[in-house]
Amino acid sequence: MKRAVIILIALAHQAHANPADMFGFGARGAAMGGAQVAAANDGTANYYNPAILARLDTIRIEAGYQIASPALKVDDLDNAVDSSRGSVIDIAVPGQLAGTRFTIGAMIFLPDEALTRLRNESAQKPRWALYDNLPQRLVFGANAALAITDDLMIGGGISYMAATKGVVNLRGLVGFPRPELSNLDLAIDVDLDTIQYPVAGVWYHAADWLDLGASYRGGFYLTIDLAFNLKGDVGSPGQPPAVSNGHVDLHTVSQDLFQPAQWIVGFDARVSSRAHLAMDLGYHRWSTFQNPSAHIDPPDLDLGQFNQFINIPPFPPLPDPHFHDILVPRAGFEWLAQDDDAHRWFARAGAIYEPTPAPEQTGESNFIDNSKITLTAGAGYELKHGLGEIIPRPVSFDLSLGITELVPREHRKVSPVDAVGDYRSSGHVLEAGILSRWQF
């Protein structure tokens, strides 16, 4: 039975990581464990806390690349899951509005493979619930920030996603007994509906040595809601049909690509002239997570003389996944290792503890997730005078590395005849990122 579980998971091609939500946005933030709600100091604030954009006094453009390579295991056998990789780009343009600092910005994480990927499967099929589709999506947002006072900034923006809804109609002849002789026409009416979610933040310079920050990132879930209607005859071309004016109507709905609403608070303390200590605490509302499995309504069909051979049992309701909300603490440290007339070197480190929102999978469902411990490190190099007279302002290059260890977990089934059986989940994820930061 355990062997069956392993094969099922492997066939599902699961597990990835969302570098923005799970491993940080940009190499500096990633190297500091993502503890950036008060400590971000560049265009990556578009993601961490848009209020910080109002602090910037030069145009910022950042571009880089991030990769996360998971090795997730069930019963100690690697599931050979896909890696997640993509480009990080952001921009922040500061200005003045009625004498007040005002900044607009935008950010994007662009996965190599696709803007979004929605994948759903049957309810019982084991999957790494948090690593399945989350990392395979575009992260895109546009923000604006305003300095209320010299010490208080606010910011916010909107991010966009798309959900699929529609109907596909087919009409014509279904070849029987030779389906390859089918002659069908297609009509389609499918929309990618706009899903908008807000991002907002506030940043406060509390003391010479202390900055405080808070941000909110809206939640969303994407659905696939598709109907397939097939109408026509069944038989062979040129012959009297075996079924005249038959029809098969299918409707499937599934929820996938979920992002929980997140509230994050944090601080950035300058503990010495060369060192920053930043800590964030995030509340992630996973309790609204719905069962991502595909649900098919009982098909409405009329296949004439074949109706008597068709007996499709009703589809049972999808079980509630019973996820719960979690608190995610993050800590980051940055040390200015060297500072001379032309260069600056930084060393960075961070840590994250993310408890799993998923309960032990004791029933029919198999939404596998483990608590995670992440350790990060990185370095930064800044050319204080840029690249000569064309770009005289500072240019930086950052590197981040990280490892996420999934705390091993046992899943013991209540039913002794469970189709999947007991199993143990574990694994780790290796992360790396580079980012170039340009000021104009």
Partner: protein, 409 residues
């Protein structure tokens, strides 16, 4: 004998249909040679090199379609979307000082980021108008000022394409289950432009490569234990949005210090227009070509600008004749389209030296669809029962309005 789809396939973008921004739509889509703000990301990215201040703009447009097909009004969705744009003159030094500008422009429909809608092949529909406004568009560009007269630019227009697979099968208990995977991927089209500006004459040219949004989903079924009829592999594929390759040239003449007259010719390669839907199974006979042909679109406009106190006021008028690329639909295809006359009017007000330097632009555009009749040729059909209609006339009009508010930073 006649079946009418009260909506049509979705093709091309809002920007190709109405123009982009707050000024250009009021000038019937001209402005290619004289724009230097975010609208240049669509019109001619070379103009971005001439931007002098950072600015950000937001706006909204609403369009109502009254399309009449065989005497019946279609249910074409209105255009409702937001416009977001910005331009940033890059503060570089040395040889690049005051020479480079970046810009971005987004059109985001309020309800739908993308729409794939097409009737059965042969069912009549407005091939190029219905639902064209239901697609997100992202334009990003950069301009470089070569010298005091010449500027060049490049950019990209991004649309989204949908690809995926769906497997329908049964579990051991006989219930239907699915495995589905959808991917939204980008389809990017480059844009190149050049501008030459003298004291009174501005010239510009733009080459815009085709931008398209396709969908391609493979559906396979394995229901052998439950349904005694096997279905063939089904491919749900086609084109949701399409803008043709466009080569546009424009001249803007400052006839008087306060009057700008512009004229534009745009060649559009509609002969490459793809089928809205492809055959879902291999056994379906070929649909045949669309038969579309290339067109040249003339546009003219006039803009009067005057000062009133601290404000600068602009009054705009424009006209364009939009040739239809669709031939009379005598065969199996029924991709209907009409010649259109476009008239536009708009105003702009700017307070560049105010404490909050605002720019407000508003416009209204009307497009009149000239009456057209499409008569099927029975000689082109093997089976007379498959002729979708004998004759279908099309006419109608479109009214669109928009407003944008920008601020210098």
């Amino acid at each position: 004998m006649m079946s009418i789809a009260l909506a049509g396939p979705a093709h091309a973008s809002t920007m190709d249909l109405f123009g982009f921004g707050g000024r250009s739509p009021a000038l019937a889509g001209t402005g290619l040679a004289t724009t230097s703000d975010y609208e240049a990301t669509w019109l001619d990215p070379a103009g971005l090199a001439l931007a002098r201040v950072k600015s950000a703009t937001v706006g909204f447009l609403y369009g109502k379609f009254d399309l009449i097909l065989a005497g019946q009004k279609t249910d074409t969705s209105p255009a409702r979307g937001s416009v977001i744009g910005g331009v940033v003159p890059m503060p570089l030094g040395g040889s690049l000082r005051d020479r480079v500008g970046l810009g971005f422009g987004f059109y985001v429909p309020l309800d739908t980021l993308n729409k794939a809608k097409a009737p059965y092949p042969g069912d009549p529909s407005f091939a190029l108008l219905a639902n064209r406004s239901q697609v997100i568009a992202i334009n990003i560009g950069v301009g470089y000022r070569v010298n005091d007269r010449w500027a060049v630019g490049a950019g990209v227009i991004a649309l989204a394409a949908l690809k995926g697979t769906i497997l329908v099968q049964t579990d051991p208990s006989g219930r239907f289950t699915t495995f589905s995977e959808e991917k939204l991927v980008t389809q990017v089209a480059p844009v190149f432009g050049v501008q030459r500006r003298d004291e009174r004459l501005s010239l510009g040219a733009t080459l815009r490569f085709p931008s398209r949004s396709d969908y391609d989903i493979q559906v396979t079924t394995d229901l052998g234990n439950v349904v005694p009829i096997a279905l063939p592999p089904i491919r749900i594929a086609g084109n949701a949005q399409y803008d043709p390759l466009t080569l546009a040239a424009e001249a803007g003449w400052q006839w008087q210090p306060d009057i700008l007259i512009s004229g534009q010719l745009a060649y559009q390669r509609w002969s490459a227009f793809p089928l809205p839907t492809e055959n879902p199974v291999t056994g379906t006979p070929p649909q045949g070509p669309t038969g579309f042909h290339d067109i040249v679109v003339p546009r003219v406009s006039i803009e009067h600008t005057r000062t009133a106190g601290d404000a600068t006021l602009s009054f705009r008028l424009g006209y364009a004749f939009l040739w239809s690329p669709a031939p009379e639909q005598t065969g199996r295809q029924s991709l209907l389209d009409n010649n259109r006359q476009l008239g536009s009017i708009g105003v702009g007000a700017a307070w560049p030296r105010a404490k909050v330097p605002l720019h407000v632009d508003a416009w209204v555009q009307g497009q009149y669809l000239m009456f057209r009749a499409n008569r099927k040729d029975p000689g082109l059909f093997d089976d007379p029962m498959t002729i979708p209609f004998d004759e279908a006339s099309t006419r109608g009009h479109i009214v669109i309005a928009g407003v944008t508010i920008g601020v210098d930073l």
